[in-house]
Each structure stands twice: as structure tokens, then as C-alpha cells.
Amino acid sequence: MDSYFMIDLVNVLISGLLIGSLYAIMALGLTIIHGVIRIFNFCHGGMSVLGGYLTFMFLSAFGFSLIPSIILSCLLMFGFGLILYRTSIAFLVKKPNWEITSVIFLLGLGILMENLILQLFGPRVKEVPLFFEDVFEFGSILIDQQDVVLVLFVIIFVLGLNLFFSRTWLGRSIRAVAQDMNGAKVVGINANRTLGLAFGLASAVTGLAGILLATKYYLTPQVGWDWMFKGFIIVVFGGLGTISGAIFAGLFLGLVESLITFYGSQSWVWPAWFVIFLIVLLIKPEGLFGRKSASY
């Protein structure tokens, strides 16, 4: 009896870690965009679903194999973000009420994207194939190879992104613009170009997160909203702009979710997340790892 309980618990913990790492990568795109333009990307869900659908399209309509389609989709998402920034966001953020107008603009865009995807691809559930089909067996504990690969991929990706932001010229100039726009301009960084590239990078990361979530779960045009709200909670919980915070919060909330789903019911997941979010906002609005700053 006891050993069954242990096995269940280990399985729950493993699936929690997996979900958590996927949520963490989901939150990365949000963090980058919030870092550079100080707004939450309310069409995050639409972008991630778009990434998933692009990969699906390359796989099914053009018959590419999985890795090239993922790379192509990320490139397309990069272009999408760049164009989006250049054509609209760059103008919106200069207006007097830029915060609320850009939030509503992005919300409208998310709705637009959801319904465009719905019309282009239809309402049916789509699936992106797994990287690997096999299963590792440790006694009575089963772990999908796919899951292991996903977690490893997320770790490598996050490390790579960290290196990008700390070592490369572009990454450092993005950070410079995020910290002090005028200072960055003084030392000769083209702020507008950098912001556009950062936005493109963020949407590529978001698209990638959508693809990874699609390999694990499924794709419908609406599913992005759920992912987006979870991403919001994670970035705020972990502390805005801190990648390690996002990962920690992602893992924590992933564990909470899988424990609740296993021992209670799926319906309790969102109420639990809401309560956690409310408590975090009221007690420590800067998040677990965030720095204290003036306004929340």
C-alpha cells in the first residue's frame, strides 16, 4: 500500500517537474517583452499557438521533418514579432496613455489571431508529433523519453539564452535599453532597432514554447489563453525580469498543479492558482526573486 503511494508520489512529482519546466519556458517570452517595453504581452497566447500551428503546417502541408519545421517556425515568429513592433507597438508606446492602449491593442490582436487561426486551420484538435516515442522504465516508474528530452532542452535553452543576454553584443544592448533607454542612446545603441529585435526574439521564444507545449499536449486555437494566464502568474510569482525566478515559480506551480490534479480534481487547479496569485500580489508584489522597485 505504502509503496503504491510512493510510486504515485514520484510519478506526480516527475510530471509536475515536466509541466513546470514547460511553464517556465512559456514565461520566458513574457519576461523578455516586459523587460524591454514594460507591458505584459496580452497576445502571448495567440503567439504561442501561432508557433505551434506553423510547425503543424510545415509538418503536414509541406512534409518537412520535425527539427527543420521548428526552426522555420521560430524564424517566422521572429519576423512576426519584428514587424508587429515596427508597425504598431513602436507607435503605441509613444502615446500618452500607452500602457492601457497597448494592453487593449495586444488583447484585440490576440483575439484576432485566435480567430484567424480558427478559420485557417479549423476547430479540430491538432497534434504535433513527439520527438521520441519510447519510455524509460525504472521498476514501476515510467518516464517518457519525450519528457526527458523536453526538460533537457529547456535547461539547455535557458542556459543559452542567459549566455546570449550576458555575452553577446545584442543581448547586452537589449539589457542596456531595458535598464536605461536614454543612457543606452547616449552610448550609441540604436534603441528602436534593439527594441524591435528584442520583440522579435521574444516572439520566437514564445512560439518555441508553444511548439514544445503542443508536442506535450495538443493544439486548439483557444488553448493559448490558458497558457498565457499561467505564464502571467509565473512571471509575477517568480519576480519580473528574473529568469531563475520564472523557472522556480514554473516548477513550483507545476508541482502544485499535478498534486491537485492527482489528489483532487482538475477543476481546483485554477482556483488554487488564483489564490496563490492573489497572495503573492498582496504580500510580495515584486515576486519571490524580484528586486524591490517603486511601483506595482
Binding site: 496613455n97 480567430n115 508584489p285
Partner: protein, 341 residues
């Protein structure tokens, strides 16, 4: 007194067209109200009457949302959820407590006010706008799950199919006039708040925060007051809606309803008074017309939100003002924008 001061202020600048505009606006609103009052004498079509009933409810909801978001600067994204809370409260009360629906509706307003103020209003005193947007969206996103958990009471994803009507033997015509009166009263309340000391306080807080607080304006008190009042009105609208409709259904929580409401507000004109009414009219009557595009309806709405935010952030009301400027060739200065930060 204030009116006289405004009058002097305006005539000093030799700028009478603003008064003309206000008067024209008032005349048009009055004419529209009279037309709505005598409409049932002109057409008996149940379809038209039904559309107007829906329009009245949405106009109340969107105007109150506009008050919270456009004036008070609390970025609540959960006002459709408040409407749903009002619906379910009134439905459950009238089904289980034996109270007549006429009493249940104000009670549902109270319950909505309590829930909304507790979860969104109080945190909004501590947090910046965008965090309230997140919190309230997640709150709205959580409600279907709450309904599923309490399905033995609330009916889960099916809803409550047999909500009693407002009173026995009610006809669509009765509900038309009841909703019409509620529409007028609740919108007058909104208008009154905007033009009262509270509205002035928000303008002062927006234009000169330090000065306003030094003069003793409490941002917290004003925000809470407006929030409580408009969630109360939204709850009442929910009660009216559920007894008119006869069903309390979680369908209202779909993202498409939320989209329609936000489109009403943005296209109508955020932070401009009759904007919500205009937006509600456009999308309730125009939405029926958009139905012939079938599934593309929501795409068009999403596109409209983007276009209006990019090019006409003041919505239709801004367009109306611009047109008015063009037609009457006035040198009127820009009306002070009422949007908060």
C-alpha cells in the same frame, strides 16, 4: 454654481461652440430616449424588442465598466464575470429562498459588489493597473471551474435552465419597459458620478496628483466608492438579465463575450461618457448583422479593437467630436480628455 463658473470660463475664451455641442448632444440623447420610449408602439416585432432588451443590459454593463476603467483607472477585466455573478446570485436566490425576483435583483447587486470589491477592488488599491488587469482576467478565467466544482448547486457547465421570470405573466413588452427604466436610472447614476465631486477628484488626481492629495482627496476612498457602485450596478444588470432570459448559463464567461464587451467599450470610446452606450448599440444591433459572416464575426471584432486603439483611441465618441468640429467649423479647443493614466 459650477455650471455658472464653466459658463464664465467658456465665454471668457469666446468659445461658445462647446456649449453648443453639449446642447446638441443633450438634444440628440433626448430624442433617442423618446424614440426608445415609443418604439413598442411602432413595432411589435419580438425580435426587435428582444434586441433592445439585450442592448439595455449591455449598455449598463459597458458604461459601468467604462466608469471603472476609463475614469477611475482601475483596469478591471472581470466586469463580464461580475455580470455572471449577478446572474447566478439572483437566479439561485429566487429559486431557493422563495424571495420574489424583484427583491433578489438588488440583493444580487449587493453580493456582486461584495465579491468584486473583495477580490478586485481592494487589491486594486495596492497594485498598479496592469497587475489588476492580470488578477481580474485570472479571476474571470477561474469562474467556470468554480461553477464546475459547485455543480450540484449551480448546474456546472449546463447552468440553471429554469429561472423564474420577474413576475407571473410578464410579457416581453413589460420587460422592455422595466429594462428601459433600469437603463435610464443606472446611466443617470453613472453620469452623476462623472460630474460629481468624485469625477472631479479623478480629474484632479490625473492632472496634478500631488496637489490633489495635498488638498485632501483620498484616492483610495474615491476608487473604492466608484468600484463598489459600478459593481453593484453590474450585478443588478445581471439580475435583470437572468430573469429576462430565464437561463443562467456559463456561456457568458466565454472569451468571445468578454471580447464583445471590450470591443463595445473601446469602439464606443473609453473614458467618454455615452461611449459605452454607443458601443453597445453598435455591437448589439450591428452584431446581428455581422452574424452573416458566421465565424468571421469575432475576427472582425478583434480587428476593430486593434484599428480603433491604433487610430481612434477615443473611439466613436472621438469620431463624433471630430465630425462635429468639421461640420460646425468651430475653433473649439480639444475637450479635456477624461482618460486616466
Amino acid at each position: 454654481m459650477a455650471e455658472k463658473a464653466l459658463h464664465i470660463e467658456l465665454s471668457r475664451f469666446g468659445d461658445r461652440s462647446m456649449q453648443d455641442l453639449i446642447n446638441r448632444k443633450k438634444l440628440i440623447i433626448l430624442a433617442a430616449l423618446i424614440m426608445m420610449a415609443i418604439l413598442p408602439a411602432v413595432t411589435q416585432s419580438p425580435y426587435i424588442i428582444h434586441l433592445f432588451n439585450v442592448f439595455f443590459i449591455w449598455a449598463i454593463v459597458v458604461s459601468n465598466w467604462n466608469l471603472i476603467m476609463g475614469y477611475a483607472g482601475i483596469w478591471s477585466m472581470a466586469n463580464v464575470a461580475f455580470l455572471v455573478i449577478g446572474c447566478y446570485t439572483s437566479a439561485l436566490l429566487s429559486m431557493h429562498s422563495g424571495l420574489p425576483p424583484v427583491i433578489c435583483i438588488p440583493l444580487s447587486g449587493l453580493v456582486t459588489m461584495l465579491v468584486a470589491t473583495l477580490f478586485i477592488g481592494l487589491p486594486s488599491l495596492r497594485l498598479r493597473g496592469i497587475y489588476i488587469a492580470l488578477l481580474s482576467m485570472i479571476f474571470a478565467n477561474m469562474l467556470p471551474d468554480i461553477l464546475r466544482i459547485t455543480r450540484h448547486v449551480t448546474g456546472g457547465s449546463i447552468g440553471l435552465p429554469e429561472v423564474p421570470p420577474l413576475f407571473e405573466g410578464i410579457t416581453p413588452l413589460h420587460s422592455y419597459y422595466i429594462n428601459f427604466v433600469a437603463f435610464i436610472i443606472l446611466l443617470l447614476v453613472v453620469y452623476w458620478i462623472i460630474n460629481s465631486r468624485t469625477g472631479l477628484a479623478f480629474m484632479a488626481l490625473r492632472d496634478a496628483y500631488e496637489l490633489a492629495t495635498a488638498l485632501g482627496i483620498s484616492e483610495y476612498r474615491e476608487k473604492l466608492k466608484v468600484f463598489a457602485l459600478s459593481s453593484f450596478s453590474t450585478g443588478i444588470a445581471g439580475g435583470l438579465y437572468v430573469h429576462y432570459n430565464g437561463i443562467a448559463s456559463p456561456d457568458l464567461l466565454y472569451i468571445s463575450t468578454f471580447l464583445m464587451a471590450i470591443a463595445m467599450m473601446v469602439v464606443g470610446g473609453m473614458g467618454r461618457f455615452p461611449g459605452g452606450v454607443l458601443g453597445a448599440a453598435l455591437f448589439v444591433f450591428g452584431g446581428e448583422w455581422l452574424r452573416m459572416f458566421g465565424i468571421a464575426r469575432l475576427t472582425i471584432m478583434g480587428g476593430m479593437i486593434c484599428i480603433f486603439i491604433l487610430f481612434f483611441p477615443g473611439g466613436l465618441m472621438e469620431l463624433v467630436e471630430r465630425l462635429d468640429n468639421m461640420i460646425f467649423q468651430s475653433r473649439r479647443k480639444e475637450l479635456p480628455s477624461l482618460e486616466t493614466e
